[in-house]
């Protein structure tokens, strides 16, 4: 079986955001880009699934972006994925544009199982996996923290407010991965060396129009530092008084 993993090349979460010259995106100067943390979990789950299935299963990494995204594909290949595909587009796309290109490629490759991180830590839309699934008419289970695949049936635990839903579905499917599903492996030195020899196919991303558009990016109003009320529990009565009378939150 062919398993696709959609990975995104994103600013490290330690990034301090500065607005770029276009006023619509961040200033990339000095920013370290990494594999999206949730996508690392997706890669790990795909590798585990391949190990369970055995046979001639293959894990293919898909990324949409510029040449710079190859770094992130290499990282996934070093973890153990078999090959990569870079869908090239230097322009900004909305989630629809991204999903469209991914879905087209998944169809071409004939992947029946797709893993995506539950959201990317840049635009935080949390919709790419579901969009890809709907475009392909695949089933989809999102925000998964436990997964079993037997024959053509998927059973997953999905994290929601106040608990977990146990969801059943059928292949072909897209699964979006949440922290807790697994512990992503570190790339071994051997993995890193062999990743250099693995193939990354490069092709232009399928055309798509953006259905939404960013007009402007701005920073939230700065928060003012407040008052230090003391250095031990003698400050507690005043704190509670302020919470009641000034903040009115108690």
């Amino acid at each position: 079986m062919k398993i696709a993993v959609c990975v995104s090349h994103v600013p490290d979460t330690a990034t301090k955001v500065k607005i770029g010259e276009d006023g619509k995106t961040i200033d990339p100067n000095g920013v370290t880009y990494v594999i999206n943390p949730y996508d690392e979990i997706a890669v790990e789950e795909a590798l585990k699934t391949k190990e369970n299935f055995g046979g001639d299963s293959e894990v293919i990494i898909l990324t949409l972006g510029s040449d710079k995204s190859k770094e992130t594909i290499r990282k996934a290949l070093a973890m153990g994925a078999d090959k990569g595909v870079l869908l090239k587009d230097d322009n900004q796309r909305d989630s629809f544009g991204i999903a469209k290109a991914l879905a087209e490629e998944i169809k071409t490759l004939g992947c029946e199982l797709v893993f995506c991180g539950k959201q990317s830590v840049d635009y935080d839309n949390s919709i790419t996996g579901q969009l890809v699934a709907e475009m392909l008419d695949y089933s989809c289970i999102s925000v998964v923290v436990d997964l079993t695949i037997e024959d053509n049936k998927l059973t997953a635990e999905r994290e929601i407010e106040g608990g977990k839903e146990i969801v059943e579905s059928e292949m072909p499917a897209v699964v979006t991965t949440q922290k807790g599903l697994n512990e992503p492996r570190y790339a071994s030195l051997k993995g890193i060396m062999s990743a250099k020899k693995k193939t990354i196919d490069e092709k232009p991303a399928a055309d798509s129009e953006n259905l939404t558009e960013v007009l402007k990016m701005h920073l939230p109003p700065p928060k003012q530092a407040g008052r230090i009320l003391g250095t031990d529990s003698s400050a507690v009565p005043e704190l509670v008084k302020l919470l009641r009378e000034e903040a009115k939150v108690l």
């Binding site: 990034t15 935080d124 919709i127 699934a133 709907e134 558009e213 230090i228 009565p237």
Partner: protein
């Protein structure tokens, strides 16, 4: 006939959630500003408080009913709503950005050919068309966004748009039976976390960080949370160390929260954590390091030992609540 906006309401165990009333209010407001016709739609079996929707401006609710749709089924809910939205030719669909809303909104969008704007914290119609503001990078920045599509799907962040009750409380509830729902993907069981409040829904959160020095000291956090009726949160460091479950993690790879009150205990305030909670209305920080970044955004701070301060704070809260 005016264009339509459909507010999709979320129910759990046959009861409409608080976010459902926020969604109706927000949809009603947009409808009045853009001269749209607003309707609410809810999928489920029996729904006990469906008539309460009338208090929030909307006069028509459509209940898409089937016993097999009592629990969420992404395929079943999608098909039921898409069929109804197509039948009435709705231009806008609005949902709350909850676990269900996040899962369902993009599916509806693809099927009706709509763009999708998620987790909006502000909706604006002054230009005559809808623009929205949504956080990106876990709240380190915001973007103003608009649709390029005719059909539009929007989700709104819970706890941001207030449920506004109106004087007119009449509502027309139409029940439509859904025949043979598509149950290809369905919830077969719900495992509730042991009676605890979830950080994503809580109005008050008490969070602990590495300064708590070990999983065994989180009873101090839990006791303070209990006295406040608050949810327990955690920093990434303590989740990674295995002291707390990842469901409690607040921050860029955890949950983004905006409660009325956030109490940060032994949390220094890494940039990823601050991004996830700095939109809280009031922030209290208790930390022994006076240079900890958390103090830069806290409204009230105590520079001291959490092990001495937390028990005293819990006692004082209990005293005040009883008095």
């Amino acid at each position: 006939m005016a264009n339509k906006i459909l507010a999709v309401l979320e129910q759990r165990d046959g009861v409409l959630k608080r976010s459902a009333f926020e969604t109706v209010s927000a949809a009603f407001k947009i409808a009045s500003e853009l001269n749209l016709e607003a309707e609410a739609v809810v999928v489920g079996n029996e729904i006990s408080n469906i008539n309460d929707i009338g208090n929030y401006g909307i006069s028509k609710v459509v209940h898409l009913k089937n016993a097999d749709l009592a629990n969420y089924s992404s395929s079943g809910y999608r098909d039921a709503i898409v069929n109804y939205a197509t039948e009435v030719d709705a231009d806008y669909i609005m949902l709350a950005n909850t676990s269900l809303g996040k899962d369902l909104a993009p599916r509806l969008a693809v099927k009706i050919g709509a763009g999708c704007l998620m987790d909006c914290v502000k909706l604006d119609t002054t230009s005559g068309e809808l623009t929205a503001t949504r956080p990106v990078y876990a709240g380190k920045a915001l973007v103003d966004v608009k649709f390029n599509s005719g059909k539009k799907v929007i989700t709104i962040r819970p706890n941001v748009f207030k449920a506004q009750s109106t004087d007119d409380s009449s509502v027309d509830v139409t029940v439509k039976e859904v025949s043979s729902p598509n149950l290809k993907t369905r919830v077969v069981e719900f495992k509730k976390s042991e009676g605890k409040l979830d950080v994503a829904e809580a109005d008050i959160i008490v969070s602990g960080g590495r300064g708590m020095k070990g999983a065994e000291h989180f009873n101090l956090i839990e006791e303070l949370a209990d006295s406040l009726g608050a949810a327990v949160g955690a920093s990434r460091a303590v989740v990674d160390a295995g002291w707390r479950p990842h469901g409690e993690q607040v921050g860029q790879t955890g949950k983004t929260v905006s409660p009325s009150l956030y109490v940060a205990c032994g949390i220094s305030g890494a940039i990823q954590h601050l991004a996830g909670m700095s939109s809280s209305k009031y922030i209290v920080a208790i930390n022994k390091d006076k240079d900890a970044p958390i103090f830069n955004i806290a409204d009230y701070g105590i520079v001291g030992d959490v092990f001495e301060i937390l028990p005293a704070l819990t006692e004082e809260i209990k005293k005040v609540k009883q008095g």
